[in-house]
């Protein structure tokens, strides 16, 4: 179940920081709107995560969950690589509710070797906003650095994500104080 054990966060993060540096210049536009400290190279990706409404299905913590929208998979438990995430964000996942976010996907650009006609009823929905390739890379880097492999969401993560006066994070504070919840919140470090 807890497959994130096999994906320790640290090495992934290292890798990503290096990659992220390569295009940090191109993404400063998003940096403006992001509230998080400027020192985190994945801020741009975090801004995309909100702007493209990944949060609408996967929630701020990426854990997704059932509900009225069916199952948006947990990105915390994902086993996908950076490249695979880039592909699925660009092309969506045919036959599921995961939308595509690349302009021209299944039209000018074939996805999984398919255009719209080939995809037919399997055609994934279109994202609420289109993302430039650099945005897609940025959001993939953000997922890898901050979401993939993480255990249960924590208070610290939540306040970093929102950096607002909302009470949205309070629930994690109370949870963290409850001793019987300790195993869940230490999951990441196991």
């Amino acid at each position: 179940m807890m497959n994130f054990n096999s994906f320790p966060a640290a090495p992934g993060m290292l890798l990503v920081s290096v990659v992220a540096l390569n295009f940090s210049i191109g993404t400063t536009a998003y940096g403006q709107s992001a509230q998080a400290p400027a020192s985190d190279p994945t801020n741009a990706g975090k801004a995309v995560f909100s702007k493209a409404n990944c949060v609408g299905c996967h929630k701020w913590h990426g854990n997704g969950g059932g509900g009225y929208g069916g199952d948006a998979l947990s990105l915390r438990k994902t086993e996908l690589t950076r490249d695979q995430i880039i592909e699925i964000v660009g092309c969506g996942r045919p036959g599921t509710g995961m939308p595509f976010f690349m302009r021209g996907a299944y039209d000018e650009v074939k996805c999984h070797g398919m255009n719209r006609q080939d995809a037919g009823a399997q055609m994934p929905p279109e994202g609420g906003t289109f993302l430039r390739p650099k945005d897609i890379e940025a959001v993939a880097d953000y997922v890898i650095a901050h979401i993939k492999g993480a255990g249960e969401p924590t208070y610290a993560e939540c306040v970093t994500f929102f950096s607002s006066t909302s009470r949205v994070c309070d629930v994690y504070k109370t949870q963290a104080q409850k001793p019987d919840d300790a195993p869940a919140s230490t999951g990441k470090g196991q």
Partner: protein, 595 residues
């Protein structure tokens, strides 16, 4: 100059006074005149002031019927936009990309009180054939906090009036009392807790100096309740849980060892009704949780999916009638119970009518809680063969079974993990309100003609987390969904008429002596003949109608008002069944029509 229009009131004397005060350069606001103060007497006798619309559901019985007939069958074709007003509140928050409008305006003495999805209240002066904003009260709803646990949209269905106060709710769990003249918050009180997954979307019901609040959150593992707040002391008078505590009557209908009752759902997010003759509040109770893994919560799961009658003074439960025991479909019974009196074989029958998500319309004897009649009001029902004519229970219901299977090949279960159900889980009718014409004895239901697909997820106690979905699966939309307006003759319990529509009815109904008004999420507002349901007038608002129409007068002239702005559950979760609606843009606008 215009700003003083907000202080004009019904009487000429008051108006002169307003002018005098303004002329004197006083900035202090006027006290509400006696004629404006809303009291129990006025709430009980709304038929004496037909130009006003004082209750969320028009009267305590939820008839949504107006006797105004300046606009009628003969001239409705000349109905035109009188004025419009753009509102706000379409911002996103939590899991929502934008808000929508589901509210019913309240009208009093030429002023309208409306809300947007985030709970801002707008007072609008409708005198002189145009709408002027008098004030806007923004409650500064904590959007991320509440929006993350609002299953079905950034919604607020409206306000109520009491004394010189406007009473409203916010999605993040507050009850607010607002000074009617100034728009200042007089006081507020936290009633629901989003940390537990509780939110508030319904309008308050005012009964005898109390505001009754219902809660949403059955998709997030809440234990539902109704709460009464004293509007003088600002204290809670009673809070009645819709799921009995350990050892209380009804607790035996939760037979599991998971303590499922503690997170068993039973929301109350649609405003209920009140029968003054017996001092009884009748309120619809929502689905059990987890929605689709019914084996997690064996037993009938009282009082989920029930109509519940409570003593208004104490909150004590008087009777209940359960529609779908051990519900595996998300067929909640949260809808309003419409109180009607019709002649019966042995004297007048006092009925409570409810159009249930499960596709059946029910008449219950509201004195005893006993079943009187029931019938399917949707075109397609696949989960049961029908209702037992004596008890009204689904024919397949077996009281000895802990987990009901109904028609097992259709019913979501741990052995039928993916299945198609009709009606779909949005139900045959959702929150959009019905209307009742007491002259014609016709009851108009805004219908979603639907099927959808349910996937079951087996739940275990460790999956229950605060503020996370607790649904035990989820729906998808492989089928096109349409709608209808279905009229039921309450004297016979039979369908009198059905007018089919290309899209589901997500707005609700208004009845007048010879017309009914309704809308479509594709933008049309329409007037139908009250008997034939033939369309007599239509106007396309260019937005999505997701709220009920109402009617009122100003200086003797009749107007019809409706909020337009598609949001709510459909837009996010069910849109694939109505692909054309993807084109509808978020919006937030009040339309007012007149001859």
């Amino acid at each position: 100059m215009e700003r003083f229009s907000g202080h004009t009131t019904i009487s000429t004397r008051a108006r002169l006074l307003a002018v005098a005060v303004a002329a004197a350069g006083m900035t202090a606001t006027l006290p509400a005149s006696a004629a404006d103060a809303v009291n129990q007497e006025r709430l009980l006798n709304v038929e004496k002031e037909p130009g006003n619309w004082l209750h969320h559901h028009q009267n305590y019985s939820a008839h949504r019927f107006s006797t105004l007939k300046e606009i009628n069958r003969d001239n409705v074709k000349n109905l035109k936009v009188a004025w419009t007003l753009h509102l706000g509140g379409i911002e996103g928050g939590g899991i929502w990309s934008h808000g929508g409008l589901e509210g019913t305006p309240i009208a009093e003495n030429g002023f309208l009180y409306v809300t947007d999805g985030w709970g801002s209240v707008y007072k609008i002066d409708a005198h002189g054939g145009r709408g002027v904003l008098v004030w806007k009260m923004d409650p500064k709803t904590d959007r991320d906090w509440a929006g993350a646990v609002a299953c079905c949209g950034v919604d607020n269905r409206g306000v109520a009036l009491w004394g010189d106060l406007v009473i409203s709710h916010t999605l993040d769990g507050r009850l607010l009392a607002i000074n009617k003249e100034t728009g200042q918050v007089a006081w507020q009180r936290t009633v629901a807790d989003p940390d537990k997954g509780e939110t508030i979307t319904g309008a308050p019901l005012i009964v005898k100096n109390m505001a009754i609040t219902g809660v949403a959150g059955a998709e997030y593992g809440i234990r539902g309740w109704l709460a009464a707040t004293d509007l003088t002391t600002q204290k809670e008078v009673w809070r009645t849980y819709t799921i009995p505590g350990k050892g209380e009557p009804g607790s035996e209908t939760w037979k599991d060892s998971n303590n499922a009752a503690a997170s068993g759902g039973g929301s109350t997010w649609v405003t209920g009704t009140y029968d003054p003759a017996t001092d009884t509040i009748i309120w619809g109770i929502g689905n059990p949780g987890p929605d689709w893994d019914s084996a997690y919560r064996p037993g009938d799961n009282l009082y989920t999916d029930s109509s519940l009658a409570l003593d208004a003074t104490t909150g004590k439960i008087k009777w209940y009638y359960q529609h779908t025991p051990n519900d595996p479909y998300d067929y909640d019974s949260v809808a309003e119970n419409v109180l009607v009196d019709v002649p019966g074989p042995s004297g007048p029958q006092k009925l409570a009518l409810e159009a249930d998500r499960n596709g059946f319309a029910y008449a219950i004897d509201r004195t005893t809680g006993k079943f009187v009649w029931g019938l399917p009001f949707v075109k397609k029902v696949t989960w049961t063969k029908g209702l037992d004519p004596e008890t009204g229970k689904p024919i397949e219901y077996d009281p000895n079974k802990a987990v009901q299977t109904y028609i097992a090949s259709v019913t979501p279960s741990r052995t039928n993990m993916e299945t198609d159900i009709c009606p779909g889980n949005m139900g045959g009718k959702n929150w959009p309100p019905t209307a009742y014409n007491p002259d014609l004895k016709l009851w108009y239901i805004p219908v979603i003609e639907s099927c959808n697909r349910i996937k079951v997820e087996v739940m275990t106690p460790d999956k229950l987390k605060p503020r996370e979905f607790w649904t035990g699966g989820g729906p998808s939309q492989p089928f096109r969904i349409t709608g209808s307006v279905t009229a039921i003759d309450v004297t016979t319990g039979k369908i009198a008429q059905k007018m089919e529509t290309p899209f589901p009815n997500l707005g609700g109904m208004l009845a007048t002596p010879d017309l009914v008004f309704t809308g479509q999420p594709s933008g049309e507002v329409m007037a139908l003949d009250a008997k034939s349901l033939q369309k007599l007038w239509e106007f396309n608002t260019g937005g999505g109608v997701n709220a009920p129409p109402m009617t009122f007068t100003v200086d003797g002239k009749q107007y019809v008002a409706i909020l337009v702005g598609l949001g709510g559950a459909w837009d996010k979760w069910f849109i694939d069944s109505t692909p054309e609606l993807k084109k509808i843009q978020p919006g937030s606008m009040l339309y007012v029509f007149a001859l």
